[in-house]
């Protein structure tokens, strides 16, 4: 083993390595899915049912031939009860197998609604200790049945689907950079920003964010770049005399955002980097900007920020973001 090599995660932490951002993202996604997925999307729609007037002996036969331990009881389409093997045993004890289902069925029903999030059913399963729930619509009509297994399967399918979409997206991106061979490939997007054009403020940043997502950046990276670009764009709108240029340069391993303008320039750069220092007008403040936090925010979002300015000449702001290895197309091509 190379003694200069840093220890791997496994060597450092044993089997129980700490959660990485990526793990946290996956967990978050599953939690998110449990809210996004609706019961109707994961339930089984073909349900074997009993009717209230059929004899208990009929139910016994129904359960036996279908190898199930219980069935919802429906009158027409409306859910009126649940009948299970236990109820049949009770009927057997009294020798009443010819009695109708409605005499033995349970009418205290715990149900799931088809428009509920899956997470609601998970709560019900946990609280009531039940194995399956009949699914009804708003008119109490039976629509299906849901088990814990259905939920797990539904979430796994959705995760798999996500994963495929992600793969396709990454494939598309890697094409852009990999098909074009050069010693250094850079994609440059340039936006002219007008001074005082508040109505369109943020349009360029919005395009930048969308472009990055399309290039395969994950939400977190796109958000960081979007926020930095937006603050920089608003600075051009608020503070320059004639506007300026907002530029995005994308390379496989890094993203560079920059703004250039030709005035009025900044006299004291240290001062403008102080949180809360602002020269903004009341109009700008009324719009929710000009609190003296713009550059501070940018510094938080990017890996490196350089501000260069001379009064009377202009300002150049450069923001560099290192692309994490597994995002964009910087993974092995």
């Amino acid at each position: 083993m190379d003694p200069t090599r840093p220890p791997t995660e496994q060597e450092k932490f044993g089997r129980h390595r700490p959660l990485t951002d990526r793990d946290a993202h996956e967990i978050n996604r599953v939690e998110e899915l449990s809210y996004d997925l609706k019961v109707r999307e994961v339930m089984a729609a073909n349900v074997i049912t009993a009717s209230p007037d059929m004899p208990m002996s009929g139910v016994l036969e129904l359960l036996r031939t279908n190898r199930i331990s219980g069935a919802p009881v429906v009158d027409g389409e409306t859910l009126v009860g649940i009948i299970s093997l236990e109820d049949i045993v009770r009927a057997l004890q009294k020798n009443e197998l010819s009695e109708p289902v409605h005499k033995y069925m349970s009418t205290q029903l715990v149900t799931a609604h088809c428009t509920d999030s899956v997470v609601e059913s998970i709560k019900t399963f946990t609280e009531k200790g039940l194995g399956r729930l009949p699914v009804v619509d708003e008119d109490n009509k039976l629509k299906g049945i849901i088990t814990k297994g259905d939920i797990t399967r539904g979430i796994l399918l959705a995760v798999q689907h996500d994963y495929k979409e992600e793969e396709v997206r990454r494939y598309r991106v890697s094409h852009l950079f990999e098909d074009i061979i050069s010693d250094r490939t850079t994609l440059v997007l340039r936006y002219n920003i007008k001074a005082g054009d508040f109505t369109h403020g943020g349009n360029a940043s919005s395009h930048i964010k969308r472009a990055l997502l399309r290039l395969g950046a994950d939400q977190k990276l796109a958000r960081r770049c979007g926020i930095a670009a937006y603050e920089a764009e608003m600075n051009l709108i608020i503070h320059t005399s004639k506007g300026g240029i907002l530029k995005l340069e994308v390379e496989p391993h890094k993203i560079t955002l920059s703004t250039t303008d030709d005035g009025p320039g900044i006299a004291n750069i240290e001062q403008v980097l102080q949180p809360g220092y602002s020269t903004a007008t009341d109009k700008v403040r009324e719009m929710g900007f000009g609190a003296g936090m713009g550059l501070v925010n940018i510094q938080k979002c990017v890996d490196k920020m350089e501000l260069d300015s001379a009064p009377g000449k202009g300002t150049k702001l450069v923001m560099r973001i290192i692309v994490p290895p597994e995002t964009l197309n910087s993974q092995k091509g």
């Binding site: 998110e32 508040f198 403020g201 940043s205 919005s206 939400q219 929710g288 900007f289 936090m293 925010n297």
Partner: protein, 121 residues
């Protein structure tokens, strides 16, 4: 606890200003501010933004910071441009007659978490 946007609409006694957008949206938390730089600096993605500002920059801010919906307080209604951008960027807009304190309190009581912390998530 997450909350469905439809539940937030009903708790806020809100009026939906973007009827063309789907409101069956899962919201992870809430954040209130009238200072857009604060929103950009101290918020986490997938939240709802409660604000008294109604200009188009609010929607741009929400879009940059990955908010899922915006509620305007005290019955404020935004200008047309704001609504147009919101529809284009798929960020539902709601107008609530309640004040910021009352509305935040209601949502917090109902279990919606604060997403104002400085998370980088």
């Amino acid at each position: 606890m997450h909350m469905n946007l439809n539940e937030i609409i009903s708790l806020s006694e809100g009026e939906v200003l973007t009827p063309e957008l789907n409101t069956d949206v899962n919201i992870h938390g809430g954040c209130c501010a009238d200072l857009m730089s604060d929103v950009l600096a101290y918020s986490r993605p997938r939240a709802v933004l409660l604000t008294g500002l109604t200009n188009p920059q609010v929607v741009r801010t929400a879009q940059m910071a990955d908010f899922r919906a915006i509620v305007f307080i005290r019955g404020k209604k935004p200008q047309t441009e704001t609504i147009e951008i919101a529809v284009q960027e798929n960020i539902p807009l709601i107008s609530s007659p309640l004040g910021m304190f009352e509305l935040s309190g209601r949502l917090h009581d109902a279990g919606l978490k604060s997403y104002e912390n400085n998370g980088s998530d």
